[in-house]
Symmetry: C2
Subunit: 338 residues, 2 copies
């Protein structure tokens, strides 16, 4: 028997009272703007209309929560990518550290340039030099040790021109979009050309995306007993490039179904946009177009990073939303210290 | 203002009344047996003790929901695997179908044996013949077409000795364990040597495990425009073997952290058991030992399928639970038609 049951109001009355309160709270919730850093333009309206159309059980466009998969490119889509991919700046800093500890480490032209902090010198060596530097700084340790190094770098390094921490160069409007989708029972995933272990070092605290929802390029790895402890070691060499046609393959490997919401910003995202939005039922494709030289950077067809040309041409016919950063975003970066 | 607020009891009283009711309901819930097909042996007690220890916020062994990752081998752990892996029987049936439609298809000794349903003939060709048959029957189509074929086979094919559908040869005690873990905010994953697209064809309806929580071996794949439609095509050849040392690597690729609960049944699971249970904090390793010749099969050290020897030797010192099917399981398979 329940103690003090006599002094209690009836269950029906209680449930009634709570339901009224919950309903009032949910009306307030619905009226609050889920995307406050987006201007009141077509872009914001299109996103909200899509989310509402896929989450209203009475509509034919309703999508069950298990199929609400949203994927996002990272560089240039969730955070900035100029003057070069931040992961490359991390590799340069790691090279300096390794060479300082062991001058013999920088044994080739590419590694010497990296150890000297000479970004242009590394880039002059082309893709093979780039891969050499990334490979040499991203291998020879356990996955956990690497992630700890990357997390420390994210917590301390500063961007060369803005002076901000890299994790403060994420896009506030995209953070709100991620939260808005999750509040509507979407699973949010990263699908990026960046290295998966590098991104996992910050994806959860910065974007709210857990490690198992990060898809990226893969270095070689193997299982070893190290000093009697079982470890997954990061080995030299590349196992998988999660870019261009690799993105649908990466999604297939890790998710196993076509996402219904896909966001990118470059031709590296074109295949993922095409493949995802060609699926049955409601689909949403969007491209972040870097149009804001005053607050961020302006670049598209001719850029050496994040080139956007074919995807921009195909967007109108495909029905993909092209977000104009200058026009559609009220804010670019989060307020620092927030 | 709230309508009819005057006739309502105070919120505090309501919340109090509901909390008492919820508490009463949760006591009833806790008393219901979450693992009714497990006998009341040490195995069941150990599982329940671990789950309770990791989900009680007041204990030092508490694990936050985001870190409650549980991984399960599939063949011999969630469903049976005798006389040979079911996926191989699927490949044989697909070979028969392909050869019936096009007699020229069976162009090699291994494919001829497969097309004739000659399992021993294929196995006599060793691993290369096996890979040839799987590769030839698992490629040359879109991922979606392959998954549809596999789902149709699962829905119609029968096991050669039991006469059951393959999806009725799953282990009822393991189904209950999966549900019990999920009810306690564990994410349940498959980590198997089986092909990922094959397992995804039934993992969600049969085990309640969605496609993005299935890790398996990978065939080669690429993105293509097929008749103007963007597709991920399954190509001949193997891209990744998710077995032995490959299992920790597969988990690292798709999950990015060490699971805290790991279940297997063979030496193919040894590396995954070692790596997962070597992590910090509470960890649970378990091995399903096939000891029940009357209701299932008896095999371990000498078996050609699911060989269990080194992992069995290491279990006592490592503290892994060895489940004795004959002794610990009241039921093996679900009641058919349920």
């Amino acid at each position: 028997m329940l103690k003090s049951a006599r002094s209690m109001p009836s269950l029906a009355l209680c449930v009634g009272a709570l339901l009224v309160l919950l309903q009032a709270a949910s009306i307030v919730g619905a009226q609050a703007d889920p995307l406050p850093s987006w201007n009141d333009t077509n872009a914001k309206a299109a996103i909200i209309a899509f989310v509402e159309s896929t989450t209203s059980p009475s509509l034919e466009t309703y999508v069950t929560p298990g199929d609400r998969i949203a994927v996002f490119d990272n560089d240039g889509c969730l955070w900035a990518e100029q003057p070069v991919y931040f992961q490359f700046l991390f590799a340069i800093d790691m090279a300096r550290k390794k060479a300082a500890a062991d001058p013999a480490w920088a044994s080739t032209a590419a590694l010497k340039a990296a150890a000297a902090g000479d970004i242009k010198g590394v880039l002059a060596g082309g893709e093979s030099a780039l891969i050499e530097v990334v490979s040499a700084t991203h291998s020879g340790m356990t996955v956990e040790d690497f992630t700890a190094q990357a997390a420390e770098w994210i917590a301390t390094a500063k961007h060369p021109t803005t002076g901000r921490a890299y994790s403060d160069m994420i896009y506030q409007p995209m953070l709100e979009l991620l939260s808005y989708l999750r509040d509507n029972d979407y699973q949010t995933w990263i699908v990026s050309g960046g290295g998966v272990d590098f991104m996992r070092a910050f994806a959860e605290p910065v974007y709210g995306i857990p490690p198992q929802q990060v898809i990226g390029s893969l270095g070689k790895a193997d299982f070893q007993m190290v000093d009697g402890k079982p470890q997954v070691m990061k080995d030299p060499g590349i196992a998988f490039i999660d870019d261009k046609g690799g993105k649908p393959v990466g999604i297939e490997r890790n998710i196993g179904k076509r996402p219904i919401f896909v966001a990118g910003n470059s031709d590296g995202d074109l295949a993922m946009l095409q493949w995802s939005t060609a699926g049955e039922g409601p689909r949403f494709g969007m491209i972040v177009h870097h149009t804001d030289a005053a607050r961020e950077w302006t670049y598209d067809r001719e850029s050496h990073i994040g080139q956007l040309s074919a995807a921009l041409d195909q967007a109108p016919a495909a029905g993909w939303l092209v977000v104009d950063m200058a026009k559609d975003w009220a804010t670019i970066y989060p307020e620092v210290g927030k």
